[in-house]
């Protein structure tokens, strides 16, 4: 009961802030008589979302499918290479510093190049998503797999555990909290990656919709697209967050 009360309380202030901001926005567009092409008011955006619902859903799903595929591919390859790095230290020494450096680079700048190489279809978007999702996963998985205490290794060795057992029963579960931290970062990155790749060249997806709407000065539709993809991204994040709570139950989150 107390827990539920706390949850409601923790939602109350953010909700209030939301209502206040939307309210100020709504009123100020009226008071300052702002042109709807520059900044439509929230109500107009809401109407636009409702009237364009079908189109918005279609394009949002396309972008989310691209992001999801990219996310899965980036994750799998990231974890695989992390395992290779951990067991072949020469490979790690050679490539890991670049992985750390690239993690902090705006790889989105590659989007036009990827569209040129892989075409304006869905594939170039998946590659972009996978690429931006990949580096955080790689770096964090390496961190997680190597952060096992020496005493734990000693325990497993004294029980004559095989290398495989040390990996599956010690290193991998130990890495899970680190991996999930990266997964949550990568949910957002992969959605952004897909959208940006769509900006540069595509015939569908929310990025395409937003760019197209801008040609027609349909700012309300642009905002509608932004709202939809943001909501989808947030849903994606909380879905992974939920799985984390189920799988990494021993790690108490704040």
């Amino acid at each position: 009961m107390d827990k539920r009360k706390n949850r409601i309380n923790s939602w109350r202030l953010p909700l209030l802030a939301f209502v206040v901001i939307i309210g100020i926005w709504e009123i100020s567009t009226d008071v300052f008589n702002i042109n709807k092409i520059i900044l439509p008011d929230p109500y107009t955006i809401l109407i636009s979302i409702i009237t364009n619902w079908n189109i918005l859903i279609k394009h949002t799903s396309i972008t989310m499918i691209e992001a999801l595929f990219g996310f899965i591919i980036g994750t799998l390859i990231g974890i695989l290479i992390a395992i290779l790095f951990v067991y072949f230290s020469k490979a790690k020494q050679a490539f890991y510093p670049y992985a750390i450096a690239l993690k902090a680079t705006p790889l989105y700048a590659l989007a036009p190049l990827l569209v040129m190489w892989f075409g304006s279809g869905i594939f170039s978007k998946i590659v972009m998503s996978a690429l931006v999702a990949f580096f955080p996963i790689l770096v964090n998985t390496v961190k997680g797999l190597t952060s096992v205490e020496q005493e734990s290794y000693d325990l497993f060795r004294s029980l004559s555990a095989s290398k495989w057992q040390v990996f599956t029963k010690l290193r991998l579960p130990n890495a899970l909290p680190y991996i999930f931290t990266a997964l949550k970062i990568s949910t957002t990155l992969s959605v952004v990656g897909a959208t940006i790749a769509e900006f540069t060249g595509s015939s569908m997806g929310i990025g395409h919709l937003i760019v197209n709407a801008s040609y027609y000065l349909d700012t309300s539709l642009m905002f509608s697209g932004i709202v939809m993809i943001s909501l989808a991204g947030v849903l994606f994040f909380y879905f992974v967050d939920y799985i984390e709570q189920k799988m990494v139950f021993w790690q108490k989150n704040d």
Binding site: S158, L159, K169
Partner: protein, 245 residues
Amino acid sequence: MIELKNIHKTWQNDKISLLTIEDINLSINKGEFISIIGPSGCGKTTLLKLIAGLLEPTKGQILLNDKATNQKSPQRLSIVFQNPILLPWRKIKENIQLPNELNNLPLNKNVYEKIHLVGLQEFENNYPDELSGGMQQRVAIARALILNPTLLLMDEPFSSLDEVNRNRLNLELLKIWKELRPTIIFVTHSISDAVFLSDRIIILTKRPAKVKEILSIDLPRSRKLEIKETLEFQRYVKWIRERIE
């Protein structure tokens, strides 16, 4: 029986080489309770790891029942470390099952018996972070006993506990020792615990560690806490303290 024959251990890295153990000779009888005591940082843990086969001596030989420890033989030895090192994603029962699991034995072999022995019946389905430090160390002991080791190596296992808990676990350890009769090598910095528990105490010098004295404790067995009040007990403690300082 365990025999250490002129054991030397040198730590080496790029810059320095440090002699931590110099010419240690020991022989420990089957079923004996031995404590190793010495100034902190003198190499007690290193010595224990050498006996466990987790480290290789730079020079010398360690024989367990006439077999060298570096031969890959299924020696029945277990270690209890300073920290309980429980896997936080496993329930208490699953933590205790770990040695069975790693050795492809039936999972539940000896499990309930050992849970009972350390008095954790009610907690078998809890997770480690739900238990106090003393209870966690009990789990570690149960886990160490699961393969019925003939040699139990303990590295300051109770040093992070308060005195009440430490005394209680010391008593339980004696009870377990009496029941299962493993050889126990117990590293500690508590002189009083060493006297209370041991048949013999090995006093090491500061680094590089050498054997300074070996002291037999001729107190009657089935010891209770009251024994610590006796003059004899306190004489042992004083004698050791004078040699460590």
